[in-house]
Symmetry: C2
Subunit: 385 residues, 2 copies
């Protein structure tokens, strides 16, 4: 970040492909609902979330074909709190949660807060970061394992797990008395016919083992609202979440009004056109990447990220060089900020030549950014062929 700031101070335009902050406008109806709030006392709300929002969430999940009831839902202060609460509820300090790497970096911080140990199982760009065979997953289970945490559609890889893959996870959870923590915040971010999202809640035989984690941050481009939710039919887990929820009293109030308005929109009003825009962006980035010699990637099926292996010595060095040297060397006033993928791996040394690209800019900006990446790979001193 300091390198990006320095470049900007030198008058350089930096295309941020490194962060998952969409440029998509938040729903006008949500912002208007917030601006229309005219209470006298901004008082505590319910720990579970305000009833109007809980009811709206039940309707939303039912519209997704999921059998969710009022008592299954819990409103959290963003997906972040949902993950911390879930980890703390399923595992005691020192116990283990299996994750698939690369994974959303902040799982590390949440695990640290919950004092649980993340046990990574490494995936490969070669098969589009799909899950390894059942036996490989089972080998990671120890007497201390309490849960498997996965993100579907996946951040950072863009992979959408097949129904078979999710079913395999469900089977493993059932056979080994584990919880299945399913981060489904990108549920709607699916780009191709033939690919569909499989929710952990579709498998009724593991309802008692399933904890779904969700958030409005990406669905409604409201990252700053800090509203998420947990859905679980396990009453003990729900009661633990309630205990933590009561300690922190309540989630932010005004944003619940905004989020409620967002969820009450029809898909046509917001989500469907947004997904169409992301599809164009994904295609732009992917087509450009395909044309660059030596780059290994795959067509992401969902979310708004992809991970690509580049023909370079080290992605940290390459990313820094883009900000410090590339534009000077080329005599231009533009460059790109990438996220080195090493940060998404727990295993030392993994992902050294990989980057995550978030396609959260306009197609025009993304096209230009990818042209810059292509040029940079031609002239980068650490290029490997």
């Amino acid at each position: 970040m300091p390198l990006a700031d320095a470049a900007k101070e030198a008058g350089v335009t930096v295309y941020h492909l490194n962060i998952g902050q969409p440029d998509i406008e938040s729903p006008r109806k949500a912002i208007d609902a917030m601006r229309a709030w005219d209470g006298k006392v901004l008082a505590y709300g319910h720990s579970q979330g305000q009833k109007f929002l809980l009811e709206t969430l039940v309707s939303y999940y039912r519209s997704c074909g999921l059998d969710v009831n009022l008592e299954d839902v819990f409103v959290t202060t963003a997906g972040s709190e949902a993950i911390v609460f879930a980890m703390t509820a399923v595992a005691d300090p020192g116990e283990e949660v299996i994750v698939f790497e690369p994974f959303y970096t902040n799982y590390n911080g949440f695990a640290s807060m919950a004092s649980v140990k993340l046990v990574p199982l490494t995936l490969s760009v070669e098969n589009g970061f799909h899950l390894p065979p059942r036996e490989a997953i089972k080998r990671k289970i120890t007497p201390h394992t309490r849960a498997i945490l996965y993100c579907n559609p996946n951040n950072p890889t863009g992979t959408v797990y097949t129904e078979d893959e999710v079913e395999t996870l469900a089977d493993i959870a059932l056979d080994n008395d584990l919880f299945l923590l399913a981060d489904e915040v990108y549920r709607e971010f699916i780009y191709d016919t033939g690919v569909k999202h499989t929710s952990v809640l579709q498998f009724t035989d593991i309802w008692d083992r399933a904890v779904m984690l969700d958030s409005v941050s990406k669905r409604f481009s409201m990252c700053g609202a800090r509203i998420g939710h947990i859905v679980t039919k396990n009453r003990d887990i729900w009661a633990s979440v309630m205990k933590f929820g009561q300690a922190r009293l309540c989630p932010p109030q005004i944003e619940q009004v905004a989020v409620d308005a967002a969820y009450r929109m029809t898909p046509d009003e917001y989500v469907i056109p947004m997904i169409a825009e992301y599809r164009r962006r994904r295609d732009t980035v992917y087509d450009k990447l395909q044309a660059i010699p030596g780059v290994k990637s795959f067509l992401p099926e969902g979310a708004f990220y992809l991970v690509a292996a580049l023909p370079i010595d080290d992605a940290d060095r390459f990313s820094a060089w883009l900000l410090t040297d590339f534009w000077k060397q080329e005599g231009i006033r533009e460059t790109v900020m990438l996220a080195p993928a090493s940060g998404f791996y727990a295993t030392e040394g993994m992902g050294a030549n990989e980057v995550r690209i978030a396609y959260v800019l306009s197609c025009e900006q993304l096209g230009r950014a990818m042209d810059l990446v292509a040029r940079a790979l031609e002239v980068y001193p650490g290029r490997k062929t």
Copy 2:
């Protein structure tokens, strides 16, 4: 709560003296600032908090005579998050934090989330819940103790610790290499000349051991905003807090705009008249209590609570009876909800005949509520003389 709901459904007015939710209006300027927000994207903010708010907070603390700089402050999602972050930063799982009981109940939930063990030291209504002698505090220190957590002015007792008391805590922290976690959310809630608030940050020799916890919930009657702050000059603790803060990305955005406007008001505009109102309320409750035979209490010096020992068998039973039987027996349509103090003690059996009263209603309502308490104590079957 179900008992109170049942009474209300029967058409009974319930005076809530049990919760710290003020009826005081939030600052109009804060609500207007929120309503005036007209951004397009409700985006992620900075993990530390937005710069405009951090700068305003520095001005606020300096106006309190505290030498606080921008890099000392961290905006949290309410005081709740401030406490969890601080506990997690100072103690590893299983380590101990000394607290004085009765204490704010939710410390239990935060300790459970942070996997730290609270070690209670019992105070007494007899000396207005002031701190015990130095040696008694030191006896609670074990090789696993990492911090002392205290709340000043105190919730639930209303006690304001003297400068000597805070200095003693500072000395103990310094001598025993402990952190001092000071919950100062009621800083301004002081009612008498001759009583003043002593901040942990006044003792420069323990700057490296001090973590101040703060919140706007009570100061601006904005409990639903969920904005708090941590102030510490210990760079390691600050860095730990930043690590947790980065994991949860950012505090809610819109409320930071509102809170900034609240802090920019002069004390005359809001806090001073609010404190004057609370002083009238305190006097109303205390005068009424004093006139009830057999009640043991003391004039609370700060916050907006007091703890009173009642001439009853059991405060849980008495509180329930107020909601279920008292009004029927009296043929009236009014009653009172109290908080049994046992919930504020960690030690089993403590506070059995004590209640906490939050004076968060108008003087008229409080007067009526206290008259009902007086009458109830006359006719309660479990009365003890």
